[in-house]
């Protein structure tokens, strides 16, 4: 089976985003990495059972090898969730930046621990 399919690429991108989450200490980069994982999931869903000669599912009641409409509908929901989550996370980050003065996870963590004592 050929190697470059939608699923394999999306798995790679997903774990690239996951690695970014683990390695990067900047909060904005973590939010971007979550966005990358979101995109990987969307690619994965859309390439379920996809072949080059698929026809878009519009006005295709009798046709052959039509693209599967269900993942596309689910991904509309997932994109809007991505928008909502990123907007909340960014506005929260601005608040956090003004409170702690740093965009670094470790520094913010130390500041919060000192403020707790």
């Amino acid at each position: 089976m050929e190697l470059i399919t939608g699923e394999n690429i999306s798995i790679l991108i997903f774990f690239v985003g996951f690695a970014g989450l683990m390695l990067k200490r900047n909060v904005i980069k973590s939010i971007i990495c979550i966005g990358i994982m979101q995109v990987a999931i969307i690619i994965f869903f859309l390439s379920v059972g996809l072949s080059p000669e698929n026809v878009p599912p519009i006005d295709a009641t009798g046709l052959q090898n039509v693209a599967d409409p269900l993942p596309q509908a689910l991904m509309i929901t997932d994109i809007v969730i991505g928008v909502g989550v990123t907007a909340t996370a960014l506005s929260l980050f601005i608040h956090m930046y003004h409170q702690f003065g740093t965009a670094d996870w470790e520094k913010a963590f130390k500041l919060r621990k000192d403020s707790e004592e």
Partner: protein, 87 residues
């Protein structure tokens, strides 16, 4: 210590990717639900675009929570972008 941490994480990620690829050989599914949507989405919901038929008629329960998430994230943004001189 930092160097060790990054190297170990990169190894962890590589092992994860390899295991996912190795274990990921599977049989394609005879996708019965997809055929149903394509065949009679025009009949049930009078929408030529099957995707709109799904997210507005078959799975409208999801779309309700879809719009709810927008409403809640808007009120979250308004709540978090509070300014000191606003009160």
């Amino acid at each position: 210590m930092n160097k060790l941490k990054t190297v170990s994480i990169i190894i962890l990620i590589l092992v994860l990717v390899i295991t996912v690829f190795v274990l990921f050989n599977y049989s394609e599914s005879d996708n019965s639900t997809a055929e149903y949507y394509v065949e009679n989405s025009e009949k049930d919901t009078a929408a030529t675009n099957a995707v709109t038929a799904i997210y507005l008629n078959y799975r409208v329960y999801d779309s309700i929570f879809e719009t709810l998430i927008l409403l809640v994230s808007v009120s979250a943004v308004i709540h978090f972008s509070w300014r000191k001189d606003h009160e």
